[in-house]
């Protein structure tokens, strides 16, 4: 049985935590930003990593957290 992940703050569902991280960092509303704080992450820090350093530090960090913390949906 395949596992998918639902965004903790909206209805987005995807099988790839990285894809979910991409979706997540595109949301600028308060709800999404506040959930990050509960996970010990800062939206600003993730974005800053992503736009000032080559590589994928922001997405990778968020994908790891989402893989653990996002509600799972069984296909």
């Amino acid at each position: 049985m395949a596992i998918s992940y639902r965004c903790p703050c909206c209805r987005k569902i995807t099988s790839d935590p990285y894809d979910l991280a991409r979706h997540y960092l595109g949301q600028t509303n308060k709800k999404h930003k506040d959930w990050l704080k509960t996970q010990g992450l800062s939206y600003a820090q993730l974005i800053t990593w992503q736009v000032t350093e080559f590589g994928n530090k922001g997405y990778d960090a968020l994908a790891e957290v989402l893989e653990k913390g996002a509600p799972k949906v069984e296909d």
Binding site: R22, L25, G26, T28, N29, K30, K33, S42, Y43, A44, I47, T48, Q50, V51, T52, E53, F54, N56, G58, Y59
Partner: protein, 759 residues
């Protein structure tokens, strides 16, 4: 395809006689009976809370008819990214705080401009100064002052674009380099300042606004949102416009405040910015920090590209979020890039907001890309033209999940410019160098962040009993020649002459929606709508002609040279004028009407088509002063089927002029949010003596989705100009630059540094 009668032939401007006689009416020239003059009181501080505003003294002045502040306005918020209410962050007048030097806090209407101006000094505003932030990376920090209290970390918008496996691509590269650039801002500086005239009808509560705008529809939406009115109760009319260059897409304080003052006084109100306001309080290009990493094989094949972007958005959103998207897209143009990753952020800062200027997104991205590519070519020992040829886009290329390229004349354009360089520039002195760059540009955007339910462009054609045609379309001619193009397209489609058509442009009450003149969309989108409308009329005329001929339905009829005839037997047909009379009689006396529209479908996510080209610039560098003289320019340009060669040349030359200025002398330095050079004396623009001759070659292709195969013309040619100059200087001196605007002192410093390194 038969030869065209009108398309592709040099055609003079349909507005020509009016423009050369001083009879073309601009909003700037308009007055109405009983009109008042409005002026705006602007914040002297970059960031402050408004404690109180006392307008009582100003109101008492003789000749002053109204003074308004934020509390006197309907309180609607507006912006151009209407799909995202949090990005509609503008108010008619600041209510709680001011966010940049120049943010309007009050407006006055008076019987003369002088009285209105004087009254501003009698308005007392008490501010509580707040700490301000001016740099994007400072603005993101957790302890940064918030420009908008509900926007954490001042992060206005982000964008991520990705395809392929970039990390794998870099692993497979033989050569990798990283470069960082700063692209500084420029101002569109149109000759006609922003100005609007609003007239409120006391009888029916409707508003009419004439404005120097690039998009009557966008202005209508902004007014409706800001004034909390129905769109249909607001009529926006665009008279002739003295230039826009990207800075007149938004709803600006002149229009909304003229409207509110007119509603309050019951009289027409006109607000005209002065030149200082134009420079300091109207939209300019977004300044950016760009970081680009590229991986190539040793034969020059691009394997991977990574692009990081931080943009300085200023105090509000407007179209700034679109710049973020487009810059990230243009960083891949015009090359085949197997894997790509882009991250961009737009931050709020306490400065006048920044958005689109001609070739928005492209100028910035292509500056970084094209300068970097020359350095890579140098390190790899590959000719700069060859490395471009190797990686150039070709017809039908697709960037996975992002955009499609239809027609593409890039390779022939490279060949042409290379051939001409070899033929023409055989006598370079030791202080002269050549820079070669490529360019590409979109034909309007497919995205719909404005959230319109309408087709992206519409048109209506009415044919009268005598065969004359009234063409109604909202396409905005701001100098680029859209009016002439539209008349040419309509004439060609109907097989009639330009002299048979009267154009009724850019009036939201009488023309179907067109999204306006931005991202070079008018020829593709508005042109297609006009062609569609005309073709619907053509169908009706052909039906009547076929009936009269009595021929089998399989035989095609054509329209050309004011006749409608059998394609196979052209001598069998009728005069257009006779068929028109018959068609009207057969339709119960109704004039013949055709309605058309265009919205791109199944064309990827960015644009329905792209123009392409190559450019070479020859410069002479004075190694003692750093002065760079542009000696000659060669351009090969693919705009599909050129509609009007005169107009195309005009667009190319105008684009090169802007690009040269943005590469050498146009700059908007600021100090704590204050723009330091708000006049033509200090904001240096290329004048006629600075301009070289421009050798232009068209590379005709045919874009199936474009009207008669046409694409946008020459907005792309702005972008390659400044990197071509930088590359030329690099080729002469070896000096490299991490910013644009190569003023003599910067060039000299770079040359000396390079010489120092060598010694």
């Amino acid at each position: 395809m038969s030869e065209y009668s009108i398309i592709g032939k040099p055609t003079t401007n349909v507005d020509g006689a009016a423009k050369v006689s001083g009879e073309a009416v601009y909003t700037f020239d308009m007055t109405l009976p009983n009109m008042l003059y409005g002026k705006l009181l602007r914040s002297p501080h970059p960031h402050a809370r408004i404690i109180s505003i006392d307008t009582s003294e100003a109101e008492k002045l003789p000749g002053v008819k109204a003074v308004i502040t934020g509390k006197d306005t309907p309180g609607g918020r507006y912006g151009l990214w209407r799909r995202f209410p949090e990005l509609c962050d503008q108010e008619v007048l600041a209510t709680t705080k001011v966010r940049f030097i120049g943010d309007p806090v009050a407006a006055v209407a008076a019987v003369s401009e002088a009285i209105a101006e004087n009254a501003l000094d009698f308005i007392n505003v008490e501010y509580e100064l707040l700490p301000a932030v001016f740099e994007p990376l400072d603005a993101i920090k957790d302890d940064a002052p918030l420009v908008h209290d509900d926007c954490d970390n001042n992060i206005n918008n982000t964008r991520h674009i990705e395809w392929g496996d970039v990390d794998e691509g870099f692993k497979n590269s033989d050569y990798i380099r990283e470069d960082r650039f700063i692209y500084s801002s420029q101002h569109p500086a149109p000759t006609e300042v922003h100005n609007s005239l609003a007239s409120y009808d006391k009888g029916n509560g409707r508003l009419t606004v004439w404005s120097s705008t690039q998009s009557p529809y966008y202005l209508q939406l902004g007014l409706a949102d800001g004034l909390k009115m129905r769109e249909g109760d607001i009529r926006v009319i665009k008279p002739h416009v003295g230039g826009g260059f990207g800075g007149k897409n938004s709803t600006m304080p002149d229009s909304v405040n003229a409207a509110v003052l007119s509603m309050k006084t019951g009289r027409p109100v006109k607000i005209v910015f002065n030149r200082e306001e134009e420079f300091t309080c109207t939209e300019h290009r977004t300044a950016m920090h760009l970081a680009v990493k590229i991986g190539l094989k040793k034969d020059g094949t691009i394997m991977a590209k990574e692009f990081k972007l931080i943009t300085d958005g200023g105090a509000y959103t407007a179209l700034g979020a679109t710049t973020l998207y487009l810059t990230g897209t243009y960083a891949t143009f015009p090359y085949k890039i197997p894997s790509y990753r882009y991250d961009g952020v737009r931050t709020y800062t306490n400065k006048m907001w920044a958005t689109s200027v001609r070739n928005f997104g492209g100028t910035e991205a292509i500056y970084a890309s094209e300068t970097q590519l020359d350095r890579a070519a140098h390190d790899l020992g590959i000719d700069p033209i060859e490395i471009r040829r190797k990686n150039a886009m070709t017809p039908g290329y697709e960037a996975p999940g992002q955009y499609n390229v239809g027609s593409c004349g890039l390779l022939p354009s490279i060949d042409k410019v290379e051939e001409r360089i070899k033929e023409k520039w055989t006598d370079l002195s030791k202080d002269e160098g050549v820079g070669f760059t490529l360019f590409a540009y979109m034909c309007g955007g497919i995205f719909n962040w404005i959230d319109t339910p309408y087709a992206f462009s519409g048109a209506m054609v009415k044919v009268n009993i005598d065969g004359t045609v009234d063409l109604f379309t909202q396409g905005s001619d701001i100098g680029q020649g859209t009016n002439t193009v539209n008349v040419m397209i309509c004439a060609e489609e109907l097989g009639i002459g330009i002299e048979d058509i009267r154009l009724h442009p850019a009036d939201t009450a009488t023309t179907p929606v067109d999204l306006g003149a931005w991202a070079s969309r008018e020829t593709m989108m508005n042109g297609n709508a006009v062609k569609d409308a005309a073709s619907n009329v053509k169908k009706k005329l052909i039906e009547v002609a076929r009936m009269k001929l009595g021929e089998n339905i399989v035989y095609d009829l054509e329209v050309k040279d004011k006749r409608i005839f059998l394609a196979l037997r052209p001598e069998r047909g009728f005069s257009y004028y006779d068929i028109v009379k018959d068609a009207i009689k057969l339709n119960d006396g109704e004039p013949i009407l055709g309605v058309g529209h265009y919205t791109p479908h199944r064309k990827g996510m960015v644009s329905p088509a792209w123009s392409f080209g190559s450019m070479a610039i020859r410069v002479k560098v004075d190694r003692e002063t750093g002065l760079v003289e542009v000696k000659d320019v060669i351009v090969a340009h693919d705009c599909g089927q050129p509609i009007n060669p005169l107009g195309v040349r005009g667009q190319v030359e105008g684009s090169v002029h802007l690009g040269l200025g943005w590469g050498l002398c146009e700059d908007l330095p600021t100090d704590n949010g204050l723009i330091l050079n708000p006049s033509f004396a200090d904001y240096k623009i290329f004048r006629t003596r600075d301009m070289p001759q421009i050798e232009l070659h068209e590379v005709p292709t045919y874009e199936p989705g474009g009207p008669f195969g046409a694409k946008e013309s020459a907005e792309g040619a702005v972008a390659p100009t400044s990197p071509a100059i930088a590359n030329a200087i690099y080729n002469v001196t070896g000096a490299t630059f991490d910013s644009n605007v190569l003023k003599p002192e910067k060039v000299l410093k770079a040359i000396r540094e390079k010489e120092g390194k060598e010694n």
